[in-house]
Symmetry: D2
Subunit: 469 residues, 4 copies
């Protein structure tokens, strides 16, 4: 059956250059496992609804299981001239069973079939991503818990702003990754709907049991409009959008790992096993792992833009343009998974260098806000207090002094409200401890967050993601 499934109507042979151009088997073979399972469910339903004979169904099921084994064991021979994964499997079925194989495609179309396959594939991939993200979060929380005493400068505008716990910095990324998890769970829910039984575009002439198909394949429900069902790629864009945001978070983490492990800061030490040297400069230890992750952000953004472009102004229902969905999707999923694994290695392997961080906190006037709040607590309005401390900063800068170097009368020249107790404020530990509001950097708050994240991770079991199954 190497001739096209539609050859009846055609007089001319397909152009070879076009055949090569339009093949998808080189990448959609990834779907083979799911295509077979969709077939198994379909045949069982056809028999159940007496659309085909039970004995024919049995033969087809037997054949499909044989093919599944070939696929799983890597023995299946995919042939480019058979266009796509569906035709490859159907063709093999003909080889194994003869004409009865022709009954498999009763009441279904490649239009609904391919989406069933892709949705099944994506459910597994998204679940794997959730699982890797959780593992990364766990690692972040662990690192945070193990370093609760380490204080580093917190930044705004890439300027040292206020002291924070290193663990607090780490947990900011945990928050991002938690949102990523939630986003992928939403994508999973969007994906977890069965289009099977929608036919080519209009539904089917056979009394298909679509709910049965959905249940059998582990879907939470069925699509409600056949035209929409076969032309909908929203869930793929949802996935690419969630992936883009996750990669954006990765790029931020990478950026900070790169810069803060560089000579200017030295806050983190990256493991040599994730760095490379230079082919020319013997001194170099480069943070390639972090750089590559950051670079791969572009790749995923590109895939998102690609699919948005493909779908723009596409008329209903299926168009061949949509074949472009798969390579973007597959590559984005691979990239995200790889980056999650590398990020976990980076988090696990990075080491904070507390003395370098403390050095960073000694630059500038990182406790200035604490001084302003001190004045406010003594009764000054905040704006006035801010202005007073600003003037103090300028005064110190002029003299090359730090706050600790000032005599009390120098403080008092700026504001009479300063008392001897001001010196107690001038400690990083005190400053951090004072940020004791929810979500603040005080050790007690940070420990609370670690506990919350631990609890959350337990609660977000992968099973629960697909709870609607």
């Amino acid at each position: 059956m190497k001739k096209k499934p539609w050859s009846g109507r055609f007089k001319e042979k397909t152009n070879e250059r076009f055949e090569e151009f339009s093949e998808s088997i080189s990448y959609d073979k990834r779907l083979a496992f799911y295509d077979i399972h969709a077939g198994l469910a379909h045949v069982e339903m056809l028999a159940q609804k007496r659309i085909i004979l039970r004995k024919d169904a049995k033969k087809i099921i037997h054949g499909l299981k044989k093919i599944e084994k070939e696929v799983v064991e890597g023995r299946f021979q995919f042939k480019p001239e058979l266009e796509d994964v569906h035709m490859n499997i159907e063709s093999r079925l003909f080889e194994l069973l003869g004409e009865v194989a022709g009954k498999l495609h009763t009441g279904r179309s490649r239009n609904d079939l391919v989406l069933t396959d892709v949705r099944l594939w994506l459910k597994d991939s998204a679940a794997a991503i959730v699982s890797l993200t959780k593992s990364l979060i766990r690692r972040v929380a662990e690192k945070a818990e193990n370093n609760l005493a380490v204080i580093m400068p917190g930044f705004t505008h890439t300027r040292e702003a206020q002291p924070i716990l290193f663990s607090h910095w780490l947990l900011a990324y945990a928050e991002m990754f938690i949102r990523d998890c939630q986003r992928f769970v939403e994508v999973l829910n969007h994906t977890n709907i069965s289009p099977l039984g929608s036919g080519a575009l209009a539904g089917s002439n056979y009394p298909l049991n679509r709910e049965f198909l959905a249940r059998k394949l582990g879907f939470a429900g069925i699509t409600q409009n056949s035209l929409d069902a076969v032309s909908d790629r929203d869930f793929i864009i949802d996935f690419l959008s969630a992936s883009s945001i996750l990669m954006m978070h990765m790029s931020r983490l990478s950026e900070e790992l790169v810069w803060f492990s560089a000579e200017g800061y030295g806050f983190f030490e990256l493991p040599e096993s994730l760095c490379t040297g230079s082919s020319i400069m013997p001194n170099k230890k480069n943070p390639d792992a972090a750089e590559l992750v950051r670079g791969k952000t572009g790749r995923v953004y590109g895939h998102l833009m690609s699919m948005l472009t493909v779908m723009k102004a596409a008329p209903l229902a299926y168009n061949r343009d949509f074949q472009e969905d798969k390579e973007a999707l597959f590559d984005a999923a691979d990239t995200v998974k790889n980056c999650l694994e590398i990020a976990e290695l980076l988090i696990a392997g990075m080491e904070p260098v507390p003395e370098k961080m403390r050095e960073g906190c000694g630059r500038g006037f990182i406790l200035a806000t604490d001084l302003a709040d001190y004045l406010v607590k003594k009764g000054l309005g905040f704006r006035q207090a801010h202005h007073a401390v600003g003037t103090l900063v300028r005064h110190c800068e002029g003299l090359g002094k730090s706050f600790e170097d000032l005599k009390l009368n120098e403080f008092k020249k700026i504001s009479a409200l300063f008392e001897k107790d001001v010196y107690k404020l001038l400690s990083l530990e005190q400053s951090v401890r004072a940020k004791d509001t929810a979500g603040g950097t005080a050790p007690a708050q940070v420990q609370k967050q670690i506990n919350r994240i631990r609890a959350l991770l337990k609660q977000m079991s992968t099973k629960s993601f697909l709870g609607r199954r």
Copy 2:
């Protein structure tokens, strides 16, 4: 108080060209109303926690309400030299109250404040979008119900494929818009979290009651990490992504409205009130409303790409780059709202032209699949049946005949399974009625969908969107 809030520390004056370049008041004035409300909640909390005196709080509340009135009545004078909306309001408060105004900013930062404002604004905007989308869905369902007898050709690959109900075509878009609603509800939930009280980056030295602030402002919860809270723009990207997908749907609807109302098809008549003529060609009636909606898809995709770029590799926490978030967000929200309104006008005003649609169904061999299924039901395998009917199509094409023109023996020459009852199949009504599976185009199924959508719309009350408040 025209001097900068940070002037204490600075010796030089801000460059005027830079001041102009960096101002945001020309667009963030949209946030004034929300900024005032965030201020009101904050002051109340400060008093409650005895961080400021109750009598000072009263004065500030009085002042803020006065300013609110000025804003609502359009009397408030925004001044570009005051940079942004926060400074404009604070400055006016100083004018009204004098030094006590300086207490408002106690324990908060523009970094957490601006996000509070934007989140409040976006909650309202997203809710408005949900409401407009529901209104559009309602209109689609109404149109579908009023035209249940109209049959049109359904397309794949822009080729007439199988007959479907015009209502079925309409409802495909209803499904897309329902997904859009769900997506915006998810965005709303992502947005509905209060960052207020996160300070500049590290939390606050004051015993702020963040839960009180959240409750007061109608948020469902609070952010959990101060660093993340002030540098997170995920919810904005979520919104832009949901908007891009919605616009993609709009572009598909527009594309079909444009082409199927054109001379080649004439399936739909668009209302003159949404068309324009030409400045040079007196004959033209152009579908500008649909074209413009389609064109605006690019604009929203662009905003999505813009924010993804801004956030790429941005270190923690706040960076001034983030100021770019607002114009993209505001313009996307405006665009989506406008397009939803125009789409509703288009749906309401378009009229199906049944005879033109029927003409479309008469071209090609639109009932070929029904013939193949007929043979299958008589016992042939589907692949064999498909091939037989394909041959029949080629036979007819050669003679310039349609299926109806064939004699029974011509049918029989292709397959002996054809019987006299084959002619009963050759009716559009019969074909449509036969697609009686869930989500199929049979009138009974379509009516079921209309009912389901009606029920869904009731269930998705806007209140419920913000149920977690």
Copy 3:
């Protein structure tokens, strides 16, 4: 030499997962041929400048030529554990020659080398694209010349607007492709500059002769700043931008091929050899080739966005993020080449259906502008003439008449300026012939354009593109 080229400085082994993540040999092996040639030129220069001994150079040249043969004949064994193409070739050289191979890398770095390779590769690829585009233009011109008598409706807003020559429509695409050629020639010129000899970032300690290297490798000149040279990816973005615009043109052509070959219009017949059928609907003949080309537009846009993202905010000089440049570039080049070939097949194989086009011209009031201009020539202002003919259109529409059906007195009721000679205007041939301004659709003008394009193609010989070599 399986150990890393930088192993001297490192204590830890590279993590295997990271090694796999960071390898580029799976795709940069495409550069092997160019890498060897860059090596040959480099060694020759080193010997010439007496940086290495002539006899060592000879050995290395001999080794490289042997490797070149292995590469060309497909016998070369690329090893993933050797990271990239440069290390694979260097390692093989060690196998063949022993320690003397270590002299090849004297005075160069992978940072300048990889860019040399990529620029050489891109010059060939861009030249190939120019050549394919020219071939496509030639085909378009040929088709136009062979169908000069065919008249079709011209469109604005997807509405039949004025009659035009089918050849005129074709030549609109020729114009786009001519601009594409020019754009790729500009990209070629941007690419045609040698970075070799820039070292890792700062230049070289050896007295390299960079002009010699450039000349030897066929570059038109050398880069002027070593830091910029190794971190510049502009020419890749230039290429992706030119490719995106070309694909945009392709998408427009595809869109028109799809719709105007559809049942509603039937203006073009597409060859069966570039169409496919349906796995379920025996009647379908789908324009897949055109659809796929249109779909691949997204892919190329995505690559452009990807590289813009990678380069955003990248500090000087080389960063590992830049490794992401190659897959995007290679895939874009392949896609563009494939689409150009398919487009040429489509143009060659499509056939205009003149009677269907004439039918299209009979719908609406496609000669209305000619009537307005008629009145202007009789002395009316254009705006008044436009309004008069608009009224005439409305009058005809009300009565279901066309212009030809009107009696002279019906014309005169609208404007007394109408005379008997108005009927002479009511011919498509006359209308087309009258558009006799430069670039207009009159047959004489169209023939002139065909001649111009033919001349241009001759003048744009590929050699001239690289004239600056």
Copy 4:
């Protein structure tokens, strides 16, 4: 003449909501000046070709000049209900002249007119951008020349790699901006072609002199196909692409200004006049100008993606979707201009801090490559030399020593080739001076580059950009 120019044919009134939605006057009024000039040229040509009477032409010219004055002096009243700039000007002409105004639009269409306006506008804008870029380059060269003795660490992978001249670093950006200039000149050449006289889509019934129009308006030539001419937006995408690349360069410069002026490095001091403080932290001095420029990169990338999306799959010829071109174009041009001005202020105001840079050079083993090259010059193969110095680095790291701290016998233990003269190498000045190849960082080379850039700037006079006119 408040009624639509096409009202003759229409029965219904335009929907008000749609009117508001579709107006463009709020932004295309920027084109008024160019629209009037296009009108002046057109009228003169009409008279010259005797298409209208000379006396009518005179009246219209008089009217247009009056309107020009109103526009230039800001007195012109743009009315939203008149849709766009063309109708606003035509309507005003009717007010001033009465019916004779109706002759202005003879032989032209808004389709060719709007492109003429936009091309004229863009020519001026692109020329202004070239001029601002040149001014920025001049400033960079000046700064470089004034600081030729300053040595800083050069980076790869954000790691201190080799010493370079600060001026060399600056000139890397000069190279980028020179390429930007060349790119905008190419855009100018693409833009500098007149579409006027293409009519709505098919050319004109009048004997228009298109070359005259082009010459009169300062265009270098005319478009060659009327269909293409009115639907081509390539030159806008070219502009957006060139703008995106320029902004990418800006983002790289900004990134380096932000980080290297931060506390960790302190290589540059940014002027207070381009920084801001914090509303809460009195210590902050934030590099907002650089951050904002970096952030605006996203905006321009977004506009590029927007226009690529708009044009994707747009059929010929004009579609209303294309109206979206203007806001993206205008905003991109404004953004680029503003960022160029701010970048010039930043370059002018930044001050290198040589001692901090020297400190940066003392970290790590920044002269390691020089040591490897030393061994090569003594006869070792480069790979072997690289490995030897790598081992030396590891040795030093273990002992906390720098190269200078090593005794000669410690050197010799690694390689017997080390001699006493190795100590001469261990100077930054020596290292920099040794990179004396073309484009290298040696002071002599850098001075050469400054001279070359100066010469280039003179040669690239703005006049020459439009030389092909």
